[in-house]
Amino acid sequence: MSPSAEWGPAALLAVYRKALLIQIVDERMRSLLSSGRLAAVYYSPRGQEVVAAGIAVHLKPTDYLVTTYRGVHDQLAKGMPLKLLCAEYYGKQTGACKGKGGPMHITHPAAGIMVTTGVVGGGIPIANGLALAAQLKGEDRVTLCCFGDGASNIGAFHESLNMASLWKLPVIFYCQNNGYGECTRYDKATAVAHVADRAAAYNMRGVTVDGNNPRELWTAAGEAVERARRGEGPTLLEAKTFRFMGHYFGDPGAYIPKEEYAAAQARDPMPACRAEVLRSGAASEADLQALEEKIKRELDEALAFAADSPAPDLSEIDRDIYASGVSA
């Protein structure tokens, strides 16, 4: 995908293809968890599919991604292979991390997926380092750092944005503001109306967009990525979105007012994006159904691969602690 491409039906379809993959994988994971066929910690990205897809289409495979435990949408959008992902969810030897990281620590450097952290805000300082290395080596490589609104209240966020701005690092700080940090509503935990307002404190460009609007998101994301690529420094990009499945899998979400939830449902980005694709003429209903079938087949294969794979060898417990084994 050429990042300089104009917004149009082709760009919209590219976004929707990634979003659809995310939607299908997420639905299947929740179904497997509900039925007890999968036992894993899981943080559903339902509602944030377009948010992940709309920026990832601007990235190259060599660009870096740092994301968080609610990160499967970001990983899939960046090119995470389904087999490695599913086998890791099942805690198998064939998983991306040989079953030693699990869903909260998906890593796949071949697609630039460098860190998935289980600590809110913990990836932000590391994103700076990846970007610094690219800058020092003179590489054409940007770092996308994804986090939620909650992460903007942790010290690491502020230390890191200040440093990135000072050093003009090629990084995009991408806040997916889904309105809730764990179970606490955004405005009860954050003193500014928009997370992107905080960019001003670091002399950084801050942009807030409607994460449900593919065009607005795609345009702002492309600009942030291109600025980073051109050496013009970091952007704090905030996409307003919504988290339909609560904080953790099984979270009843009693803290979300019914009216708010209903309003968010009415603005669910996935049906809207699909309708827009169809309206644009980029794909027909039959095309999209074929795409869905293709994704489901690949997912079936990946899940079968995961199920059939062996558990990690017990010797794995002593491997990868140090580069050359444990000598303690």
Binding site: C97, K98, G99, T117, G129, L132, A133, L136, D320, A328
Partner: protein, 338 residues
């Protein structure tokens, strides 16, 4: 300079740290330094360890940072993931606490949690130690915390030559290393090592051979132990001194070999006694050598209080060289003597 000439020279600990950094930067362009005030415009570091390096290697590679320990360590981790060998200077060990998430949850574990796909070859240089009147937030020895986390390497040199060799090994090691420098003894001198000197990590050093009792420790107390050993030799007491050098991974083999030979061990460190590295060393010795030991393994360490400011209180906190000697005599007087 020939090896012979180099060996006849003496250097301070500060020289030693700088020498290791400079040799590493000259040898490998991926070695970069990050830390507060470390470039020459800011004075080359509060302790002058990096003096001259930014002038020689540029401000890109010798980077003065904001006072942001978490961002410093995080930047080092990220750069390491992308193929650099960053050395982060955290001015004092107590400030490392500000960066604990980065060190404990990320640097130490990313290799394991990624199934070996990524690694974090960073070195965190930091400095600490009581005795200079800097009180409770500038003096703590916290090495046990980090030794307790799988994936970290923890290194404490006791001579300038070892400081050069160990720091070089940390920088070129593929795992995260915490390199702990002693605040009080930075101007002490010792023989300079030859160029390119390396001391392998995870290897203890029998600094002085003896047959009656082993004193096992690291860092500042090693010098005390050597002086005591020299003095006690006059009384016919033969003290072996084992400098652990790498706290983690701990060289059990060398420690156990020494304790098996002398059948008596005194473990010594500056950090407070309880839950310290000495407890781990003592436990390993008794687990392996219970039937061999002629006396209980004794510990000499500092007290479990915040490091006080007033000189008399600070000295009351610190381990005492006299206590090392007393512990040696106790192991020899033990009823278990055979």
């Amino acid at each position: 300079m020939s090896t012979v000439e180099a060996a006849s020279k003496t250097i301070t600990f500060t020289d030693a740290y700088r020498l290791a950094l400079e040799e590493a930067m000259a040898a490998d362009p991926t070695v970069i330094l990050l830390g507060e005030d470390i470039a020459d415009e800011e004075g080359g570091g509060v302790f002058k360890v990096t003096k001259g390096l930014s002038t020689k290697y540029g401000k890109q590679r010798v980077r003065t940072t904001p006072i942001s320990e978490e961002a410093i360590v995080g930047a080092a981790i990220g750069a390491a993931l992308a193929g650099m060998r960053p050395v982060a200077e955290i001015m004092l060990m107590n400030f490392v606490t500000v960066a604990m998430d980065q060190i404990v949850n990320h640097a130490a574990k990313l290799r394991f949690m990624s199934g070996g796909q990524t690694g974090v070859p960073i070195t965190i240089r930091t400095r600490t130690g009581a005795g200079a009147g800097t009180a409770g937030q500038h003096s703590d020895m916290l090495e046990a915390w980090f030794a307790h986390v799988a994936g970290m390497k923890v290194v404490v040199p006791s001579t300038p030559a070892d400081a050069v060799g160990l720091l070089a090994s940390c920088i070129f090691d593929d795992d995260p290393c915490l390199f702990i420098e002693d605040s009080l003894t930075r101007a002490l001198t010792g023989p300079a090592p030859p160029p390119g000197h390396r001391v392998p990590l995870g290897r203890a050093n029998v600094t002085r051979e003896g047959s009656d009792v082993s004193v096992i420790g690291y860092g500042r107390p090693i010098r005390d132990a050597l002086q005591i050993a020299e003095r006690l030799a006059g009384e016919g007491i033969s003290v072996e001194v084992v400098d652990v050098r790498t706290v983690s991974p701990l060289d059990s083999d060398t420690i156990l070999k020494s304790a098996a030979k002398t059948r008596r061990a005194v473990v010594v460190h500056e950090a407070p006694r309880s839950f310290g590295v000495g407890a781990e060393i003592a436990a390993r010795i008794q687990e392996h050598l219970y039937d061999t030991l002629a006396a209980p393994v004794l510990r000499v360490a500092s007290r479990e209080v915040p490091v006080p400011f007033a000189k008399v209180l600070e000295q009351e906190y610190l381990y005492k060289p006299a206590a090392i000697e007393a512990a040696i005599r106790r192991t020899l007087d033990s009823k278990g003597r055979r």
